[in-house]
Symmetry: C2
Amino acid sequence: MSAAEKNGTGVTAAAGFAAAGVVAGLKASGSADLAVVHNLGPLRSAAAVFTRNRVQAAPVVWSRGVVADGSVAAVVLNSGGANACTGPAGLQDATTMAARTADALDVEAGDVVVCSTGLIGTRLPMDRVVAGIEACSAALDPSGGAGAARAIMTTDSRPKESATTVTGPTGTWTVGGMAKGAGMLAPALATMLVVLTTDAVATPETLDRALRAATARTFDRADADGCMSTNDTVVLLASGASGVEVDARTLTEALTEVCADLAHQLVDDAEGAAHTIAITVAGAASEDDALEVGRAVARSNLFKCAVFGRDPNWGRVLAAVGTTSAAFEPDDLDVTFNGVMVCRGGQIGDDRSLVDLSGREVSLLIGLGAGEAEATIWTTDLTHDYVTENAEYST
Amino acid sequence: MSAAEKNGTGVTAAAGFAAAGVVAGLKASGSADLAVVHNLGPLRSAAAVFTRNRVQAAPVVWSRGVVADGSVAAVVLNSGGANACTGPAGLQDATTMAARTADALDVEAGDVVVCSTGLIGTRLPMDRVVAGIEACSAALDPSGGAGAARAIMTTDSRPKESATTVTGPTGTWTVGGMAKGAGMLAPALATMLVVLTTDAVATPETLDRALRAATARTFDRADADGCMSTNDTVVLLASGASGVEVDARTLTEALTEVCADLAHQLVDDAEGAAHTIAITVAGAASEDDALEVGRAVARSNLFKCAVFGRDPNWGRVLAAVGTTSAAFEPDDLDVTFNGVMVCRGGQIGDDRSLVDLSGREVSLLIGLGAGEAEATIWTTDLTHDYVTENAEYST
């Protein structure tokens, strides 16, 4: 029986973790809105990456300090309110969430990461949050991952979980995780909260290296709407329960697999999207050039509307490429939609009517003709549903 | 009788110009789609600014060369096709447009600026273009500005014209102009074609200085959808017909007035917009900081959807401000929607329900608390109509 079968899914796929999600009453809908993930040990190694937005929510300010020493015993998360732009009172609320979770689990408040998501600029109803923390801590279970994943959803239409089990020369170990996304997905982390867990034995330094490498190639390349959140947090906890020691390279591989799966789930479920678009930039002089071009195209509203309209509008692709500082000559640019090269050498290529954009998945390949580097950015189209969801979100 | 009364409107408001617009058959709609503006002299001084997009349409490549010597006799413009990404054949088409216009007006081809707008990546039907140039050249009239302004429209819902007459110590002179916009309005020029004319006496160097100063504070600060076109052109012609010499400072003032009016008309008529938003960033350490912050907010799709939904969502404003490198402390940020300071010192301010966003005009004031510099960016909201227009444009 593998760890994944013995335990739960997502954050409880790896051994040494318990989790739960409860209804604290923070959401008007009455859905689950508070989750706790508890690292049962024996190790409590951890690492995290946070939003690069300079306006940072109180939980992010608090959690940066928690993770600094590489030790985390638990993560408490709520949906229904971001606790961002709430001033000193908001920071006090985040601190209280950590302290109450620590009390319930008999750990140190300074070892509890706090994550919040929802509307910016409103205080959390702390009486409900505190009661929720107590109920959730009492409900913790080694198979509770699925419940926790549901409780962190905002405008997500479905929970996101993933896990992979690795059998190496020294034994079997697992990486698992959960994520929430939906809006503000970009550009270096989305409005995403992600908790990753592993039962491997690893130092905080190894976790940090592996986490940064894995997120740089996965979450950092998902750009649904170009808007960067104030609350993004990706935290990785290691329990060591498998007894299997791993090095950074091996851990990075497994982590990247789980993060890529979660990142795809985030883009597939981005607010109002009708198409999931993989923009691959090839023939670039450097990976940075490829990323710059991919991001520029991913942020072109005109391109994104064209895909919604099932229109392989390569002119809008070239117009976006032309705004970058990447190395290329306009006459060397190729653009291929779903296998049809509609622009060749900067000019009209194959018949655009051959392109079928009726499916959910769209593959856009841009050839710069300037080198050998390549990178892929995932994005979505711009739709009526996106406008509707984001025009009506807080009102 | 003033010059503006004696002559036409827009590009024919100043003395010494004739213009016309005709139906060449380039648009499926059968509307006017080809225009010529002829400088009757005695001067033929000129200056121009072009798109900074590295993918440049054939007419832009041609016209850069024409303007280099500071002498322009005429401008020929067509809607119904951008002649962009059309390779050497497209450049030949642009050259032919200049040559045929030159023949009809008995001037040099190397003194004819060419502007095209419409779909990227399709060749122009040159037989119709050539016939249109002949018909248009025969119809030129000192009161033909309004017809020319109609002929350059694409998805514009109305023509854009402006003019101002200045009476100074040495006499009376006029600056006029026409513009087309609608989509791809950003960030340093929009998909805009603008022809400005003056009957003042000025050297090409004076025109160039004044034009760059005026566009930097007007067209460069209109950012409807963050998409930069391959065809943007703003050209200024001086006939000298008033006999009044002007210096760069005086000319800049009058030009800025006309350009600001035209830029406002462009934003007011941007594709699918329901709100015109003036984003003023004050208390900045530098004007560059103010512009960076204003542009970041103007490009936030979440912010733009919120305005469409009449929601003074200051959290999305702060999230966008936080992505910039401008000097500020998060705790010093103020956000005021239509006079109501909904965020004060980075925290919840006055009651958001006091904000009325039901009107067309929205004023957003962002205080950085970091200095004395200030700048305003004009943008629009993100609406269902924007998505519809841009999903269906080429199909």
